[in-house]
Amino acid sequence: MTTLEQSTELAAADAAEHVLPPRRRRNETLYFAFRNRKLVVGLSVVLFFLVLAVVGPWLTSASPFEFGYPLGESPSTAHWLGTTAPGQDVFSQFVHGLRASFLVGAVSACVASVIAMAVGFTAGYRGGAVDEALTMVTNVVLVIPTIAVLIIVAAYLHVGSLLWEAVLIGATSWPWAARSIRAQTFSLAAREFVSLARLSGRRGRQIVIHEIAPNMSSYLFLVFILLFGGSILIAATLDFLGLGPSQVMSLGLMLNIAVSASALQLGMWWWFIPPGLAITAIVGGLYVTNVGLDEVFNPRLRDR
């Protein structure tokens, strides 16, 4: 994960240099976007699961925690993904779990992006003592393993809702993003157009919003995608440990219940294969989308 983040950073350093007039750029971007196989494949996979998450709950009459179905039955026309050992519908759990994953991923990526941008822009644009202090804080949070902090915080707080879980994950996963946004801001802040804006008497905050941020918008988008995928994985780990909300079905919680109910010993593969497969497909799809977008934004990476 971290290496992915680094290569995105390297590639985006070039991307900022190719600034075209807005309209031509948009048409050209779309043209290359549809031609890029990685982007098309990655995005299709993610969208497939997103659509399934949205419409899935309407395709089944069962609710995720409802008992009373056949015990431990393999997939059939009545139960598309079979039933669990105590008699719950796996498909219903699965689609609700997908919803939870997308929700947690989106919210915590938003939280992390906001913190990362606040820290990164301020440190990169202000420089000096502010930069030193913020960089120190970022490095400290970066070294502390996210999952260890989340385990101890979640164990005490008894996370009751997805939103809470997402905010906690977002609040701990921002440092790498802040660091690379800071580096980007640092190099952009030395450009002529920023000096010009400064000479014209605009305030720092306006310069960041109107001059610096738009010129790295494609990079910010890539950061968001990586944060999204990373958060889904972290949430799945927390849910698997039994530290997520227990009243909301999630893909990690499905795995947790399947393991503790000996789905492995019972050979009930339909219970534990779909949740993990979906996580892998969604996160992998996001990463591949990220690479595809990188190639679309950065001409030097194309045609390889």
Binding site: Q6, V143, P145, I152, Y156, F240, V259
Partner: protein, 328 residues
Amino acid sequence: MNRYLARKIVLYLLTFWVAVTIDWAIPRLMPGDPIQGLISRLQTDPTGAEELHGYFTRSFGLDQPLWKQYLNFWAGLVHGDLGPSIAYIGSSVSELIWAAVPYTLALLVPAIVLSYIAGNRVGALAARRKWLDSSALPVSYLLTATPYMWLALVLVYVLSFRLGLFPVSGAYDFSLQPAWTWEFARSFLSHWFLPFLTLFLVSFGGWAIGMRNLIIYELEADYASYLQALGAPSRLIRKYAYGNAVLPQMTGLALALGVIVGGALVTEIVFGYPGVGSLTIAAIQNRDYFLLQGIFFFIIVGVLLANFLVDIAYVFVDPRTRTGIQGS
């Protein structure tokens, strides 16, 4: 070089202090009473519960002013005293963790080192072989997106339950006692292999992708074009590119440690491997906060030490840190 290492040491000491303070503060500042949880586990009658509450509050020093509690906490850490365990009554937290740490290290160290070496090699190869690039890269992306516990589940289901190639759980056969015998070593290795493989595969993907992208980036740099213009053999150019690409990969190694430690925790749970991960789940299920606190402390110390080792290695790989020149 001294300046570089001194900066790092200051950072790690600061991080250590912040982490320990978090470790201390969370149980005390969060809503909810850990002692109450402990007593409800013991299920005594109300009057007895009250007496017990007072007893535990005193014995854990929770009746003292906060600043004193904080100093006591540090004093305990210095003496290696992390308090008693609630889940395993009669054992101390540090005892339990010391017994579990060797198993976790036996998984983590080989998995980290081997996946790093193999991933970098394959990534560098993929950067110049089209067929390898189009086959290894998608696989690497899928591997790095796989949740550790799920890969563990799939491996144990297919290779152990279906094909019967490996044992299902534990660190060695129940009929054996840990000893320096061939029989025990064989049993240990066959139990060790699948959890190791899980950790290896997921982290391998990340390294391969990172190295491949970095090599491509380096081969586009001016020095590569210059060497090419001079007519240098492409093997030499790639060697220089590899040397430069290893640096960011090493920085990445320090950052990836936290992720792979998290992976080891959940992988151990799937395999019932008696390391820190299995201890963590026992602590969570039994609301054993002292044990969780201790585990957190051990993970922090381990990750900081590993980071420091990587930093020292970095000094040997990157000559700029030795002469005090700032990298661009």
